[in-house]
């Protein structure tokens, strides 16, 4: 499977979406994206953590301490109400954008 680079801005969208089902720690988020996209999307930790910090600053997630599967103390990220709103807004925007691109591709 080809490893595709993430279009910028989409990372935030995906992270928020992934967190909608429940709080996860950083590595789990990366794993989840990787799995759900059938290995198509790989998240470099280099892009994940800065993105997480940005989302944290904007208040779309909060971070709490929890224990990982390995018994280690690690930070879990949880979606907030604002984050949910942001997710819906961005998802809608993304859909509109893709539809527009698809239309142009089909008819031009």
């Amino acid at each position: 499977m080809q490893k595709n680079d993430m279009p910028s801005g989409a990372l935030v969208l995906l992270v928020l979406r992934v967190l909608r089902s429940g709080p996860l720690h950083g590595y789990a988020i990366a794993q989840r994206i990787h799995t759900l996209s059938s290995d198509a999307l790989r998240v470099e930790e280099g892009s994940l953590y800065p993105a997480l910090q940005k989302i944290l600053m904007k208040g779309w997630v909060t971070a709490t301490w929890g224990t990982s599967e390995t018994g280690r103390k690690v930070r879990f990220y949880k979606l907030t109400k604002d984050g949910l709103k942001q997710l819906d807004a961005e998802a809608e925007q993304y859909e509109r954008l893709t539809k527009a691109i698809q239309t142009v591709m089909r008819t031009a």
Binding site: Q31, Q53, M57, T70
Partner: protein, 825 residues
């Protein structure tokens, strides 16, 4: 909003959060390894990028820049001290000037609602006056609807029992203190309802007088004193900061104007705008009221003029004096500022060149030009702030010193207020940024600093110092001229008596009697040669003036209202024609300057001359005697007999045959003896002359000081410049020396770089000085604005100083050991 809070929280917990992140990423790596080979990233860079997400990078950079700046400044103390010193001088001079302006004009007088107070003056097509008849002000007060209050004031010098000095007394309307928000330090101040003519008139003491005369004793309240022949009761002491609406010293006594005073005394009138009224509305209303008053009392002596208007001007702020003096001071201060900035610019440029290596190194590690520029600008900014602080301290101290030196009124407070501080900070930033920007840009972008920038800066300094020195020279010459020149009349043996009869409530007839009495007493005295009267005593403050337009220039005509003995009393020579006789009501004697300018090529005798609505015939031509405007080459005089109605404003001049000090006390006794209620002011004319000269002396000293400071700073700049050039060319000089070049050839080469700039700066400086000198014309006592002696002296001093300054580092260059020079990098 909440985002800001989150950011703030992050800022405060930064190191802990950073550690947590490092921990998290380590965990991520563990898990990745366990699950099989995810690529590792650069931890440090990742952490940096994560930190960047919080958007507080600029804060970090600022902190770094500041720390670096302070370290750099500490490691080159010579540069830092010089730069801060230069900035402090420049900012200090500008701050001192602005602070003075602020205290006098920008800061409102300490009265309530200064913006609604207007001062009124009378104006008609052919004449104007600064005072209004008191009864007219009462009429306006009662009838006006656009003014919510009317205030009036007039001053007198009254005799005070128990003191041989006359006491200045200000007579004011009863609402004066109330309207202006003047408080009492002890006792009470006037209330509406306090009258001036009751059997026990009341007075308020001025604060300064209370301190000096009564030793700040609070028990003076309730005491009675004899003032001006009347027994008055002291009801209180005015607060220290109160001095009414004038910028001068507060009077010794405040008294209430007598509403039933029959004299046609003139008062200074102010009014407070009623809410909703505009200045135009007030002027129109008052002018129509004046016309009404004129028809109501057509036969009164001091009748109001036809078509008279009352003009209002804001009175809540102090006055600045002539715009010309203001422009001059601004020009001089800007020059000092220019010199300081030019110097700063050169310093920064020189320093910049020395730091090229450091900049190259930083660039190699990865700093962008923006980052470097920010760093350099931060340095300029820190320098500016230090210069501001230094400048504020220096400027305030200098201003305090000047105020003490010129004996300014004590209620003026020179401590800098927010306006001055804002001003200082602004110009500091402007100076440092503008003059630091160019060097910073050069440095950051690695462009070569063109010599043009340098030369411009040095040229600017040269020109500014030149102007200052030349102006100082002109003032020095003016001073010399003022002391030695002949003013056209003899002043050493004259005593002036100013009874100010109109302030004492005299009518014209009583005044005539008074003057005759006084004259009789004086004429009989041994040692008195001649006695005369005049409306404008020489070197005094009262002037009756007109203006003439001749050849596009405005001449000030000083109208002296005198008697037939005046010219001989003042030893003003009669050149042609004859003296005024006692019945020459329509005759005038004009000064030579007026005759030659107004009737060029013709004989002035017999010509007609109009003053106001009257016409006069020229009976004689007298020598020039600028008794009222010593230094002004554009002033002319004429003499006419004083009309009977003006007897109340006349002063007496006495010529003595011996030294006037000997007769002084007898004259004082004679003057005091005519009316025991008051003591006229008696002065020796030569004392007044000395005071005038003192002013010229002080200006000359002040500007010379400025000039010397500017020269010193400019020389500093020259030294720096030459030293820098030498440092740059050490290798070249070493080679040339070792090949056998003569030292003077090397010096010649070095100086050739600068001679062009110096010449250019000198030329600009000379032209600039000529321009600025135009503003000084009236104070120069006839010295030409392009007086060659002054210019030449200044230029010579300047050239010598600059050459010496330049030679010093150049000579060090020549003592360079060629071997050392060749090995220098």
């Amino acid at each position: 909003m909440r985002e800001l809070l989150r950011r703030l929280q992050y800022l405060l917990q930064r190191s802990r959060r950073d550690d947590e992140l490092a921990d998290e990423m380590a965990f991520h790596r563990e898990m990745a390894e366990r699950d099989g080979g995810m690529p590792l990233g650069n931890t440090l860079r990742l952490r940096e990028e994560s930190r960047d997400a919080w958007g507080l990078v600029w804060l970090d950079h600022l902190g770094q820049d500041l720390r670096y700046t302070f370290r750099a400044m500490r490691s080159s103390p010579g540069f830092t001290t010089t730069a801060v010193l230069v900035l402090s001088i420049g900012i200090g001079a500008t701050v001192a000037a602005f602070s003075a302006f602020n205290v006098v004009a920008l800061r409102p007088l300490p009265v309530t609602n200064p913006d609604t107070i207007l001062r009124f003056q009378r104006q008609a097509p052919t004449r104007s006056a600064t005072e209004i008849p008191y009864d007219a002000t009462l009429f306006y007060r009662d009838q006006s609807r656009t003014l919510s209050a009317v205030l009036a004031q007039t001053s007198s010098r009254l005799s005070l029992d128990g003191s041989d000095q006359a006491a200045t007394t200000s007579f004011v309307t009863a609402n004066f203190f109330e309207q202006l928000g003047g408080r009492a330090a002890v006792g009470r101040v006037f209330r509406v309802g306090d009258q001036g003519t009751t059997d026990a008139p009341v007075v308020v003491l001025g604060y300064g007088f209370w301190a000096s005369q009564f030793g700040s004793d609070p028990s003076v309240v309730g005491r009675s004193v004899r003032l001006g022949g009347k027994v008055v009761t002291i009801i209180g002491v005015a607060a220290r900061e109160f001095s009414g609406l004038s910028s001068g010293n507060a009077p010794a006594f405040w008294a209430v104007l007598d509403e039933h005073d029959a004299s046609r005394r003139g008062v200074t009138m102010w009014g407070r705008l009623a809410p909703g009224a505009s200045v135009q509305m007030v002027e129109d209303e008052l002018s129509s009221l004046a016309a009404q008053l004129r028809t109501l009392h057509p036969t009164s002596e001091n009748t109001l003029w036809e078509g008279e208007r009352l003009i209002g001007s804001p009175a809540g702020y102090g006055e600045v004096g002539s715009t010309e003096m203001l422009a001059l001071v601004v020009a001089l201060v800007l020059l000092i500022f220019a010199v300081a900035c030019g110097n700063l610019g050169s310093l920064l440029l020189a320093r910049g060149a020395a730091r090229q290596r450091e900049m190259a190194l930083r660039k190699a590690i990865g700093a962008g030009p923006g980052r470097l520029l920010r760093q350099l600008l931060t340095e300029s900014f820190v320098l500016a702030m230090m210069g501001c602080v230094g400048g504020l301290v220096l400027g305030s101290t200098v201003l305090k010193g000047i105020m003490v030196w010129t004996e300014a009124p004590s209620w003026l407070d020179p401590t800098p207020d927010w306006r001055v501080v804002v001003f200082a900070v602004t110009i500091g930033v402007v100076a440092a940024v503008i003059f630091g920007l160019a060097p910073a840009l050069h440095l950051a972008r690695r462009t070569r600093a063109t010599p043009r920038g340098r030369t411009f800066l040095i040229g600017m300094q040269v020109a500014s110092s030149c102007v200052l020195l030349i102006i100082a020279g002109l003032l020095g010459r003016a001073l010399d001229r003022a002391i030695s020149a002949d003013p056209g009349f003899e002043y050493e043996q004259v005593i002036v008596i100013e009874p100010s009869l109109i302030e004492q409530g005299y009518t014209a007839d009583r005044a005539r009697v008074y003057l005759q009495d006084l004259r009789a007493r004086l004429v009989g005295m041994a040692g008195v040669e001649n006695v005369s009267v005049t409306s404008s005593p020489p070197l005094g403050g009262t002037k009756v003036m007109g203006s003439l337009q001749v050849d596009g220039r405005t001449l000030d005509v000083y109208i002296n209202q005198v008697d037939q003995h005046y010219l001989s009393t003042m030893t003003i020579p009669l050149l042609r024609g004859r003296h005024l006789q006692a019945d020459d009501v329509t005759g005038i004697v004009v000064s030579e300057s007026l005759a030659s300018r107004y009737w060029p090529g013709r004989d002035a005798l017999g010509q007609s001359f109009g003053i106001g609505e009257e016409t006069f015939t020229v009976l004689g031509v007298a020598g020039n005697a600028r008794s009222l405007a010593l230094g002004d080459p554009d002033s002319v005089e004429l003499y006419r007999l004083a009309p009977a109605a003006d007897a109340t404003s006349l002063a007496m001049v006495v010529r003595t045959s011996t030294a006037p000090d000997l007769l002084y006390s007898s004259v004082v006794t004679a003057a005091n003896g005519v009316d025991s209620n008051f003591k006229p002011r008696v002065v020796l004319l030569r004392d007044r002359f000395a005071e005038r000269v003192k002013l010229a002396e002080r200006s000359a000293v002040a500007v010379s000081l400025l000039g010397v400071i500017a020269l010193a700073v400019a020389c500093l700049g020259v030294v720096g410049l030459v030293a820098y050039a030498v440092a740059q060319r050490t290798k070249e000089i070493g080679i040339r020396l070792s090949l056998g070049a003569q030292p003077r050839h090397i010096l010649g080469g070095l100086s050739r770089q600068f001679v062009g700039t110096l010449m250019g700066g000198l030329v600009v400086g000379v032209c600039g000085a000529a321009g600025v000198a135009q503003l000084l014309r009236r104070e120069l006592y006839g010295v030409s604005t392009i007086d060659p002696l002054a210019y030449l002296t200044a230029i010579v001093i300047f050239v010598v100083a600059v050459c010496v300054a330049g030679m010093w580092p150049a000579r060090r260059a020549l003592r360079v050991d060629p071997l050392v020079a060749l090995r220098t990098d």
